[in-house]
């Protein structure tokens, strides 16, 4: 397996996580603490531009410049390993590192912009960071520490029917770094196994997009929600209780719009949506309000998860 650090980590905050599901961040911290991962957050860090970038608001130069600034912040506090909770932040930052290292012209241009604006301290030098050695998703860190998950598990969630939805921007952008398969993504299925549960594994549309497509949700809602509905129907066919995510974009698309798609399809959907960190935190005994952040969810978590039963030790 590729090298994955467990220290000197900057836990990269995600706009969508903070605004929509703060419990994802709380859960990530909860699980990282249990597993002894050394991380910190920085209030200086900004958005990766992802949503704006994919909606053609920020071009690649702006995106890479903002990346360069965030990379400098990470290095300045001695935490050059950026770990993302959002698949889009992950793909965007990895791409920016690749471009800044490979494209001398782009790097020089951005460094000039910094100079002109009195921000010379933000300059990015070639190979300051390495795309495969410094840029990670939370699932990478959890996967590297998977052997230690089992001993912290408090609740047995194995009675629920669980499926995974792996985000496109984790699986399908930087193939070389994706853990657990690209065509048949399984990294979360493996992590869930460490919690003493089995997922349903392959299901129809397992690899498909959530449908968000960034601006597509707003400019082409029909197309966007058709993709979501395909997947919702497939999950309902399998009678899934919990769909586990690794990207807040997907999470929103399913959780916030489940009722809308239900109306559209004339079929009631009952799955709840948890980020992988929330799922593990829940199994590790994280508080539903303070850690999991259940109140931020549209499909109530307690509509499915009732009476948690403790693992027999």
């Amino acid at each position: 397996m590729k090298y994955v650090p467990d220290k000197d980590i900057l836990l990269f905050r995600s706009c969508l996580v903070s605004v929509e599901y703060p419990g994802v961040e709380a859960s990530t911290k909860f699980v990282f603490d249990k597993l002894g991962v050394d991380y910190a957050i920085s209030e200086k860090q900004t958005c990766c531009t992802g949503l704006g970038h994919y909606s053609d608001v920020f071009n690649q130069i702006d995106t890479s410049a903002i990346g360069a600034r965030n990379f400098r912040i990470a290095r300045d506090i001695g935490r050059p390993n950026l770990v993302m909770m959002c698949a889009t932040c992950y793909a965007i930052n990895k791409k920016s590192v690749k471009l800044l290292n490979r494209k001398d012209e782009l790097r020089n241009h951005i460094n000039e912009l910094f100079d002109e604006n009195g921000l010379s301290h933000l300059k990015y030098e070639k190979d300051d960071l390495k795309p495969s050695e410094n840029i990670f998703h939370v699932v990478d860190i959890l996967y590297a520490k998977r052997d230690e998950i089992g001993k912290h598990i408090k609740y047995d969630l194995s009675d629920y029917t669980i499926a995974t939805h792996h985000g496109c921007h984790y699986c399908k952008v930087h193939y070389e770094d994706t853990i657990g398969g690209v065509r048949d993504p399984n990294v979360m299925d493996e992590l869930i196994k460490e919690c003493g549960c089995t997922t349903i594994g392959w299901y129809d549309h397992k690899r498909a997009t959530c449908g968000t497509g960034f601006r597509q949700r707003y400019s082409n809602p029909d197309l966007s929600f058709t993709a979501t509905a395909d997947k919702m129907n497939a999950i309902a066919d399998e009678d899934v209780d919990i769909l586990v995510h690794l990207c807040p974009n997907c999470h929103i698309q399913f959780d916030r719009y489940q009722y809308l798609i239900s109306e559209r399809e004339g079929r009631s959907f009952r799955a709840i949506h948890l980020n992988i960190a929330q799922f593990i935190a829940l199994a590790m005994g994280g508080d539903l309000d303070k850690v999991i952040g259940a109140k931020a969810h549209t499909v109530p978590i307690d509509s499915v998860v009732k009476d948690l039963k403790e693992v027999k030790k």
Binding site: Y175, E176, V182, R183, D184, W202, D204, R207
Partner: protein
């Protein structure tokens, strides 16, 4: 005196291959020689006249040809410099090791100048020597008993050559025996494959010049004196093939049933079995991994042919040449989970369909689904694993899958006109006469849809194939009750293994690489080893047979023409020699012996490594060709063109390492311009004084590569370590010298090592 020699340099543009990157005008300005010529294609026959005229007109003593690699064209130019002695010419490799690995024109030009200057200085130290001709043994080993190997064996045997045909499975016949029908572009009809294969098989079995070894693999190979010494491992068959009459009573008695791999696991066979009806040797075999050792078969065998105890046997085999015909395997469907091959019974491969429609297959030729019904709609998916740039995919086209799909679609249509067949294709590739067959298939009402399906799912009793119809730009869901996948051809495990054992070059896709894709399509990087069939690249039966017979012709050329050996080998002064035998002891290649009270040196096995020189107290041995001086002159020539601030790394490689380095260029990978490769007869000839001189006079680093299979490897490694120690004693950083393993197939690894060493040296330079 050598400095007064008149040197002529000939620059080749190589039709732009060189001149598009290297500024040859600039090169001409920088060189100080008697004559400089430039030509578009120096290797053409016109080149001969240009070189010869210049030699006469300018009275040249030495010639440098700055062109491609000596591995491509050294022989050509040795011939073109006549009347000069062939060894008074040297080639500067400014294509494979310059224009093909560098993209920055200015830096590539500077490197070309350095390489040419090194050649100029080297060639001044060259002396006239005569090549030596040797004969190699006539016997041939053919590895792989499929249609290619069988045809090569037959062709050679009919020309009087003794052949050993080595097949690792229990029967010869290969994939062709399995495919059921083959199709003829001329007759526009499908014919029985086995009926075409059988006569070849029979002819082969009866030919006295061919020995067939089944259940046998090559496990070791060593080349000495033009002879390949192979060690074969023959696994036990547990049946005496002399006694077995293939009556089948043993299989009737056997209680163990396992999936029949010859039928792509679509039917069952016993643990004692005959691979297929026409298999050769005509005998049963025991699959010992699955045998329960109940001895029922022993009791049933009236011929007493069964031996439940058996050990694998090692067989040495000496041959002069080898034909590699180790074939292909099919793409692993686990890599395409979206097509559901592992999940759904009626999602099958074309190979399995071939078994199902074959009369000797699991359903005796009836097209049936797993539930025993005839399918109503078959959807075929093309390019599964081929033409695929996603992870685990192959970028190449597997070449035969379009015609295979057409053939199987027609077979279905002939027998079951009511079954609908739809082929989802990327492009239909049916060149030449095959196009007529494509039309014929369309007339047969086979339907075509352009699009590569994304996934196959099961809904109820049916499969849904999801794809975009890329001609209409529409998303479609196709219902089917049988899905057939046209899987890519990829190198077989045997092909990968044999490349490693014989140390022959492979392509980035793992197929055996020919020494030149246009003009040497059956030779490999290694003298005396040839390739044919799908071990080389995807191809059909016709092409495999053509290449097999071409390989046979090349073997005979080699057998009749003999081998020309570079004359840079040891020579004994018998007046001085006192027959102490020290050299015989020292020679790792066992090339020295005493014959008729004189030391005899076998020219085929002597590599000119110079190890014997050190031990000879009488100083009776010399190695022809002024090698020490040539290496020193090359180093000086390279360093004299070094500019301030330029990083210069000298890389010493023998023929194997040099071939690997060429392959970096052939595959258009890159490495830094600082890397300057010097070809030496044997790495052992690079002496401490060469390294010391290089580092003291401008070289920033020295890289020495050696093939671990070389008998001198350990010796060279120790020597380099001593050189590093000495460097440290002198207060220099020993990391400026590096020693590395090189292999012909792993050219990409060598490129990586060049990059890493360059980065390391750059770091050291920054520190100082």
């Amino acid at each position: 005196m050598r400095d007064d020699l008149k040197v002529g340099v000939f620059l080749c543009e190589c039709g732009g291959n060189i001149s598009d990157i290297v500024d040859l005008d600039k090169v001409r300005e920088e060189l100080d020689v008697e004559f400089i010529g430039q030509f578009e294609n120096l290797c053409s026959l016109n080149g001969r006249k240009i070189i010869r005229d210049a030699i006469f007109d300018h009275d040249l003593d030495r010639v440098v040809v700055a062109a491609c690699s000596p591995i491509s064209h050294e022989k050509t130019f040795q011939d073109y410099v006549k009347p000069l002695n062939p060894y008074l010419m040297d080639m500067a490799n400014i294509r494979e090791q310059c224009s093909w690995v560098h993209s920055d024109s200015e830096r590539a030009t500077r490197k070309a100048i350095t390489l040419i200057n090194a050649s100029i200085e080297k060639v001044k130290q060259s002396d006239a020597v005569d090549p030596i001709y040797c004969q190699t043994p006539d016997e041939v080993a053919i590895i792989g008993g499929g249609i290619a190997g069988m045809n090569a064996a037959l062709s050679l045997a009919k020309q009087g050559t003794k052949v050993t045909l080595i097949e690792q499975s229990p029967s010869i016949g290969g994939h062709m025996a399995k495919i059921g029908k083959v199709f003829s572009p001329v007759k526009i009809a499908e014919e029985c494959g086995m009926c075409l294969l059988n006569p070849i098989l029979n002819e082969l079995v009866w030919n006295e010049n061919i020995e067939v070894l089944t259940n046998t693999k090559v496990i070791e190979a060593e080349r000495r004196a033009g002879t390949y010494n192979l060690i074969l491992e023959k696994s036990p068959r547990y049946i005496d093939t002399e006694k077995c009459i293939a009556c089948g009573k043993c299989a009737e008695a056997c209680e163990v049933e396992v999936p029949n791999d010859w039928n792509d696991n679509l039917s069952m066979r016993k643990a004692i079995y005959r691979p297929f009806g026409q298999s050769y040797p005509e005998a049963y075999v025991i699959d010992m991994d699955n045998c329960s050792k109940c001895s029922n078969c022993v009791k049933a065998c009236s011929m007493k042919a069964i031996r439940l105890r058996g050990k694998s046997e090692r067989i040495p085999l000496q041959v002069g040449s080898i034909i590699v015909a180790t074939g292909h395997k099919l793409f692993d469907m686990e890599k395409r989970p979206e097509y559901g091959y592992a999940r759904y019974d009626d999602v099958i491969t074309q190979s399995e369909l071939g078994r199902i429609t074959g009369v000797n297959g699991p359903t005796k030729g009836k097209l049936l689904k797993s539930n025993g019904e005839v399918p109503k709609r078959v959807v075929m998916i093309q390019c599964v694993g081929s033409r695929d740039e996603k992870p685990d995919g192959h970028k190449y086209c597997s070449k035969i899958c379009c015609t295979v799909a057409l053939k199987n679609a027609n077979i279905i249509k002939h027998k079951y006109p009511d079954t609908d067949v739809l082929i989802c294709y990327t492009d239909v590739r049916t060149p030449g006469m095959f196009e007529k067959y494509y039309k014929h298939t369309q007339e047969n009402e086979v339907r075509f849809l352009r699009g590569r399906p994304g996934e196959v799912v099961k809904k109820g009793d049916n499969y849904i194939v999801r794809t975009e119809d890329t001609l209409k730009g529409e998303f479609v869901e196709i219902e089917a009750d049988m899905v057939v996948l046209s899987t890519a051809m990829e190198p077989s495990e045997g092909t990968e293994e044999i490349a490693e054992i014989l140390n022959i070059g492979t392509t980035e896709d793992g197929f055996i690489k020919e020494s030149h894709p246009k003009i040497k399509p059956v030779a490999t990087d290694v003298q005396g080893i040839f390739v044919c069939g799908t071990a080389h690249e995807p191809k059909d039966i016709t092409d495999s047979i053509m290449q097999a017979t071409a390989a046979a012709a090349k073997v005979n050329e080699y057998n009749y023409g003999g081998v020309e050996i570079e004359p840079f080998i040891a020579e004994i002064d018998n007046d001085r020699c006192n027959l102490c035998g020290e050299c015989i002891e020292r020679c790792k290649y066992k090339s020295m012996s005493i014959q008729n009270d004189e030391i005899y040196i076998d020219p085929m096995s002597c590599t000119g490594c110079g190890k014997c020189l050190v031990g000879c107290k009488q100083r009776a041995i010399t190695v022809n060709g002024n090698i020490d001086e040539k290496i020193m002159a090359t180093i000086k020539g390279a360093l004299s063109k070094k500019r301030d601030g330029e990083r210069m790394i000298l890389v010493f490689l023998d023929n194997i390492g040099y071939t690997a380095a060429d392959n970096i260029g052939v595959n258009r990978l890159s490495y830094p311009e600082s890397i300057h490769i010097i070809k030496v007869i044997s790495v052992n000839r690079v002496r401490p004084r060469h390294i010391k001189y290089a580092l003291e006079n401008g070289a920033d680093g020295v890289f020495i590569g050696e093939f671990p299979g070389d008998l001198m490897y350990d010796e060279v490694e120790r020597k380099i370590q001593r050189a590093k120690n000495r460097l440290q004693e002198l207060g220099e950083n020993p990391e400026r010298i590096t020693f590395s393993k090189v292999y012909i197939p792993y050219f990409s690894g060598l490129a990586r090592k060049f990059n890493e060493f360059d980065a390391k040296i750059a770091e050291l330079d920054d520190e100082t």
